[in-house]
Structure formats: C-alpha cells, structure tokens
Amino acid sequence: MAKVKGDIIIDIEKCKGCELCKAACPQESLELSRKLNTKGYHYIVKIEDNCTGCTNCALVCPEGIIKVYRKTEKKKEQVATISNVTGDITVTVNS
C-alpha cells in the first residue's frame, strides 16, 4: 500500500489571512496564526501533520504563495536474494 505524504510552505509575509485555503483543505490542517506578519495580517499556518499534498489550498490562494510537496512512498518488498556472490554483478534498470 502506497503511503502519500504531503507538506506545504506558505510565504507568510505575503499572506493576507483570507482563510480561503483553510476552507478548501479537506484535512483541516490549516489555521490562522495568532501572530501577525509585518503587513498586520494574521497569517495561515499548518497545524496538523496530516497533509496529503492535494494542492487545494494552493489552487484557491489568491496570493499564489503556497508551495505544495508530495511524496508517495512505496513499501519496500523483498523481491530477490543474492547470496554467495564471488564475481561482479551488473544490474540494469529499465526506466
């Protein structure tokens, strides 16, 4: 089973705290910070570690300041065992 992990980076200095990303987030990961940025806006922060990298927040962000990352980790399964090797082995991988 593939595990999807996402994360976002918000340019908080440009955030105007409109909360549209918060409303668009299916994971409810986002919340307004109590702190203010230098423009005087409460900015958005990620408060949960459950981001899936779905990009919804970035799509609705009027400022274009959310960068989204996603990594799908495949569980490693053992496919072969090589034992008692004495010489060189050349492995080619088809991409």
Binding site: G6, K14, C18, V60, G64, I65, V68, Y69, K71
Partner: protein, 270 residues
C-alpha cells in the same frame, strides 16, 4: 553483509520519516514563473489573484511568455502588469478590447488577451466588447465579473444583481429604475465572431481547475486562429460586498452563480 545492508536501509527509512519532504523533487504545486514576486495590491480573498495566477500558469505551460501581450483594464486590475511577467499595455476605461484588436492586427502571430472587469467590459466598454467579439478578433477576453465597481469603492455595476446593495443602490438594485443586470456573456455568445464562450469561477479548487482549462483551451484556439474566445470568471469582492472572504464565497455560490450559471455558453464547433 546482509545485516549491514539492512541497517543502512532502515537508517534511510528513518531519515525519510524525520526529514522534511519539502525538496524540489517533491514539488507538486508552485507559483508559475510568469507570475512575478510582487505582492498583489488586491484585498484579502479577492479572485483577481487566482485569475492572474491561472493566466500565468497557462502561459508557462504553453511556453508562450515571449509571444504573449496582455491588455490591462481600468479597475482593480489596472495594475495587472505588475504581477504578470509579460509585455502588457494598460488601456483606457472600457477600451481594452479595442487596444487588443490593434495589437493583434499588427502582430497576428502573437497571443493577445485583454483582462477586464464588469464595469470596464459591460458598461463603458460595451460597444468595443460587442464589436470586437462580432469581428471575431482572434484574441482572448478574460471577463472578471464580481457584480460591482471595486476600484472606485463599490458602486452599482452593469452586472449587479437585482436587489443587491451597492453604494449607488444603497437599498438594493431596483430594476424598475436602475435597469437589469446585463448578461453580456450570453449576449456575445450569439455573435458569429465568437468561437468559445464560457463562464467559470475560482471559488473552489474544482472551479479553479476548470477555469484554468478554459483559459488554456482559449490560447490553444487562438493558436489555431479559431476566433474570439471569451472566458467570464465570476468572482467575489469581499471589501465592497462588505463580507469576509469566506462569507463572500458563500454569497457568490448562493446568489451570483444561480444568476450567472457556470459552464460553456458557446461550445467550439468543428
């Protein structure tokens, strides 16, 4: 040997667990290059920012930054050229489609679009809009409809809904004395010169994706000399609607979209 390899693998897995995934290889969404880093002057939650970004994304994806000329209107998006890293012209109020016509006629191989609000396109510029569409100029018109004059402080627009309050219809738009909202998109869809006419919104992720597709298709049609493409984007105006951004999007869904329903109004033929 085996043990040692296992240890390394475990260590690697542990590293992934602990380390941030925020590395370039994992980026799935980033600001398009054609969108500048200049902070936008728009109010919090305003749809202009999304519309700008979508244009920039499409220009990046089609790799036409060096072939695109945009025309900014008079209105809130008068400074659109500060946010889009492309050659642009700023037109007089309502005249953006005439200016775009002038550019496209002398540079027929370039991609030309105008970006206009409802007051600009559907009130003072109605004549230019209709005739540009009717001539079938091979350009894209992006029409931002938020039902109000934003820049000048919330006056009634040609698209203001019946009963909707504005500073010049403080008791709500009375259609008997103030006239009806103008569905100019439906109107220009009747004209033989228009090729693709559609209405989008940018209030939800799904709508944002659809709006982007509409813009992208329009540029592709322009490349094929299909004629005029017209993309209306129904947006909010939190400040002048006197609502929070979230309330404005809710109001948009409940009031604007029933009156200005989303979808293709004129589907491309052939």
């Amino acid at each position: 040997m085996n043990e040692r390899t296992m240890t390394e693998e475990q260590h690697f897995e542990q590293m992934i667990e602990e380390e941030s995934i925020c590395i370039n290889d994992n980026i799935v969404y980033d600001k398009p290059e054609t969108l500048t880093d200049t902070p936008m002057h728009y109010c919090p939650g305003c749809g202009h920012g999304v519309a700008h970004r979508l244009l920039a994304e499409v220009i990046d994806e089609l790799d036409i930054q060096d072939k695109t000329i945009g025309v900014a209107p008079v209105g809130c998006s008068v400074l659109a050229y500060n946010y889009l890293n492309i050659d642009m012209q700023e037109a007089a109020h309502g005249r953006a489609s005439a200016v775009a016509t002038g550019i496209k006629r002398v540079l027929p191989d370039k991609f030309v679009f105008s970006y206009q609000g409802d007051g600009d396109l559907a009130a003072i510029g109605t004549g230019e809009t209709i005739h540009t569409c009717n001539r079938g100029e091979n350009i894209l018109i992006v029409f931002i409809n938020n039902g109000i004059y934003g820049m000048t402080g919330g006056q009634m627009a040609p698209t203001t809904l019946p009963g909707m309050k504005s500073t010049t219809s403080p008791n709500g738009r009375d259609i008997i004395t103030m006239g009806n909202p103008l569905k100019i998109t439906e109107l220009i869809a009747q004209l033989p010169g228009t090729y693709y006419v559609t209405r989008c919104a940018v209030n939800t992720p799904v709508n944002v994706r659809k709006a982007k597709m509409a813009l992208k298709k329009s540029f592709e049609y322009q490349k094929e000399n299909k004629g005029l493409c017209f993309v209306e984007i129904v947006t909010n105006c939190p400040s002048n609607w006197k609502m929070s951004p979230l309330e404005s999007n809710k109001w948009l869904e409940e009031n604007m979209l029933p009156f200005y329903p989303l979808g293709d109004i004129k589907k491309p033929t052939n």
